[in-house]
Symmetry: C2
Subunit: 281 residues, 2 copies
């Protein structure tokens, strides 16, 4: 997905939010805003917003000296998600179509997103998404690809959401690689968060090499890119991964909630819609 | 009021909204965003946001060649407000405290604001504000100043709101100067809009000389500054005028709805609160 004009003010909103987590010094945050603002004329609009995200969060680390501003928030999100797990497992056990419910639960986890200005309530949103109509639902194609697959590359998005990803991976019951970011960026899941979420029990946790809040293949490690081309099935969670992968030429299934108007427009759905969308299927 | 960090992303949102009204050429709008973004490091935070507003809307005029992007929107707002007028007049006629009701109606008009990203419904909001509690209500001081006043300087804000201002000016029944912006900026009232609203029937319409979406005395005409110091009572409508005048040393009464979190914080009220606040009273 390319960068839309609406992304530009949002880059500064993100800088401000993350800057405030990293520092209480308004002068320092103003410097951050200045430096990001000065980058705007260099943004190639044909690149994805996640690439600008990488620049923003690198600058925040450099200027503030704080490596992981969202560390405690991520830990809280994981604990909060774990508290919901027994109830969600019970719902899954009783459901007629377990795979569909596990997909819903995994998408519900996608509401945990501190890159957005909107507030969310995990518990409320999870139960809403369990009964929400899908705006795009390529379930049959997904199921067909899943049945044939021996290996799955599952690209994680946010910490906390990762706890619910575990449920879907367990349900699918295939050899799964769970890809995380190389270093902390917003509240995206990194290796430590994936372990905290218990994903090592159901998948092989790998880094994609990405330092962006998304997956842009030419910014990922060669090992990850190899896996991307070889895995039988790719599941991509969330907006940032969609931004980077939506124009790729191989089959990818995107599971996400469209939380921003730009992503919703690109997917041709409405804001807050939930989506299971396959490309090149 | 000084510029807050939260104003910075908002400057770019405003640029995008106004740019889209002035042009359908995304490349041109991107140029506008680039140029405003490059100004951000030069913003002195001790200046008011309205000063940056002046720079933004001047740049939009220059780059797009469109002098008044909000012209038709302003005209529509005035017509819409006029349609509500008979009902509001009837409410005023039946009210026990006519001055208080006229103040409420004038504040209700302040919901018409295309400088904000929030959507509004004039009719719904007007009726809500007619019964809403004031968060700050220096009514007694206002009434005392009004009784003693021979001349009023009434500083208008948005076109459309101006129609309701007329009602309050009529109710006060004093010699009134109705100050408007020198040139079009957002949907702020200019001389033509004031005439379209019928203000010449109840007041002397004057330009403040301001090219900013607010009133910053050192950016106003000497005539206006003279009047500002000589008028017996000053009524300042809306956020932009508050931004510019909140630190002045003479008595000013501000009538507004706090539509943005920054203004609400500066006033120590909540977003969407309504306010009649006097300074130096």
């Amino acid at each position: 997905m390319k960068t839309y004009l609406d992304c530009i003010p949002c880059f500064l909103s993100q800088t401000l939010r993350a800057g405030r987590l990293a520092s209480q010094d308004d002068m320092l945050i103003k410097q951050l805003l200045d430096q990001i603002a000065n980058q705007i004329e260099n943004i190639p609009m044909e690149k994805t917003p996640a690439e600008m995200g990488e620049i923003i969060y690198r600058k925040i680390r450099e200027v503030s000296g704080v490596y992981d501003p969202y560390k405690s928030i991520k830990s809280q999100s994981i604990q909060e998600a774990k508290l919901l797990l027994p109830t969600l497992k019970a719902i899954l056990e009783k459901s007629e179509n377990r795979l569909q419910v596990a997909i819903r639960i995994a998408i519900a986890g996608n509401v945990i997103d501190f890159g957005m200005s909107k507030k969310f309530s995990l518990t409320e949103d999870v139960y809403r998404i369990l009964v929400q109509e899908f705006a795009l639902f390529d379930f049959e194609a997904f199921q067909a690809h899943l049945e044939k697959a021996n290996t799955i590359l599952y690209i994680g998005d946010n910490a906390g959401e990762s706890v619910f990803d575990k449920l879907l991976i367990e349900e699918m019951g295939k050899k799964t690689y769970y890809a995380v970011r190389e270093i902390p960026v917003i509240n995206d899941v990194i290796v430590a968060d994936a372990i905290d979420s218990g994903l090592q029990e159901v998948a092989e946790i790998i880094s994609s090499g990405s330092q962006a809040p998304g997956t842009i293949l030419n910014r990922c490690s060669p090992d990850f890119v190899g896996l991307f081309h070889q895995a039988d099935l790719i599941i991509s969670k969330g907006q940032g991964n969609y931004e980077g992968l939506s124009d790729e030429k191989r089959t990818v299934f995107f599971l996400l909630k469209a939380k921003c108007p730009v992503i919703a427009k690109d997917l041709n759905v409405k804001e807050n819609d939930i989506v299971l969308k396959g490309i090149n299927i």
